[in-house]
């Protein structure tokens, strides 16, 4: 045992030396990893995401005034996730779907006795009764305003799942309807793919934004991005709640 620990320590230190060799940036030798904080954004592709001129000529982008730019969301990270690189998002929701379905298969919905022996105390129950609708509303707010403020489908879905976790902590016998969750998940995934396929048949390539873009900064803008984010929020909320329910009831 002790020999194996020393061998692993030796291996990890050697690996550390090899990785830190990548940082020996003498300028004459070619391109290097940039120093922390000294990045020139015009050398990277992100400059085009910020100026929103990937396809068109560059125009000035002003909050609350520019009409119909290339990608109508005020949050740049959202426009990358749901518009420019939407295939990565499709892959990500597939991964979450596989994890939730795989977990339900492995743990086999036993519905044995819960992880807790009895209900929580009176104060916790009253507190959860107050907090649950507020948290749910906060989650929905984060999802819907994903293109205006930091946040979006994934973050809002996690908040909704936390609200449901609170219910599990307060009541010993709280159960979720797994069939309803499966229907919600599948419906959200199928709708995302159908939006992509509609883009294929109207504009010629998969996952194009086919609705109008509106003014940057208003709620009804950015074309198909809020719709995608609402679907993602429903899916992530349903899946994380299913995972929590399966782990507690196993």
């Amino acid at each position: 045992m002790r020999f194996r620990d020393y061998l692993s320590l030796f291996l990890v230190i050697i690996l550390g030396f090899i990785i830190f060799q990548a940082f020996d940036g003498t300028i004459d030798n070619g391109l290097n990893i940039k120093q922390f904080g000294e990045v020139n954004l015009s050398e990277r592709t992100s400059i085009h995401y910020i100026n929103k001129d990937v396809n068109n000529e560059s125009t000035q982008i002003i909050y609350n005034e520019s009409k119909n730019p290339e990608s109508g969301s005020a949050n740049y990270v959202t426009s990358i996730i749901a518009n420019y690189r939407a295939l990565d998002t499709l892959g990500e929701i597939t991964v979450l779907f596989i994890a939730a379905a795989g977990l339900a298969f492995v743990l086999g919905d036993h519905n044995k006795n819960n992880a807790f022996a009895s209900d929580a105390s009176f104060i916790v129950k009253i507190g959860v009764k107050i907090l649950f609708p507020l948290l749910f509303l906060l989650g929905i707010y984060i999802i819907i305003h994903g293109h205006l403020t930091p946040g979006g489908g994934f973050q809002g879905g996690a908040v909704i799942a936390t609200a449901i976790l609170l219910k599990f902590l307060a009541y010993k016998d709280y159960k979720l309807n797994h069939t309803g969750l499966t229907i919600l998940e599948s419906f959200a995934g199928i709708s995302f793919l159908i939006i992509g396929l509609i883009g294929l048949y109207t504009d010629g390539s998969f996952l194009t934004n086919f609705l109008a873009n509106g003014t940057i900064g208003t709620l009804f803008s950015a074309g198909v991005i809020p719709i995608i984010y609402i679907l993602i929020g429903i899916k992530v909320g349903a899946e994380l709640s299913g995972i929590i329910s399966n782990l507690i009831n196993a």
């Binding site: 990045v39 910020i50 909050y63 492995v106 930091p150």
Partner: protein, 120 residues
């Protein structure tokens, strides 16, 4: 101080990854192995985000106080990559934990010395 400023994020995240790797290779308890995988995921996500920082940059959102696009924004692409990577890491951890629960139910032990199929 300048050395710490420059190396705190990037060097620290690589050290986190190495600590996690050491944990995966040497720990005997299954739950500790899963926690070490979590540490490695955190390390690599921190590395990705810290490669996009610009000195004195603003958060990449157009708001009423930052209304135009020629202000100094931080790189938004690594943040989008990290969102995907975090979700994938969570999915893998959830699956690994469910398998640990099943191994415990079948064999009543969590030490890898006593489990025949896990010897390296």
């Amino acid at each position: 101080m300048a050395f710490l400023n420059q190396w705190a994020y990037i060097g620290g995240s690589i050290i986190l990854i190495l600590i996690g790797l050491f944990g995966v290779l040497t720990r005997r308890n299954l739950i500790k192995i899963v926690v070490s995988i979590g540490i490695m995921d955190t390390g690599v996500n921190l590395l990705l985000v810290s490669l996009g920082y610009i000195n004195g940059g603003l958060a990449p959102i157009l708001t009423a106080t930052n209304p135009t696009n020629n202000l100094n924004f931080v790189d938004p692409l690594p943040q989008a990559l990290v969102l995907t990577a975090i979700v994938i890491g969570v999915a893998i951890l959830a699956l690994a934990l469910s398998i640990v629960i099943k191994i415990y139910e079948n064999n009543n032990t969590l030490q890898i010395d006593e489990l025949r199929g896990l010897k390296l």
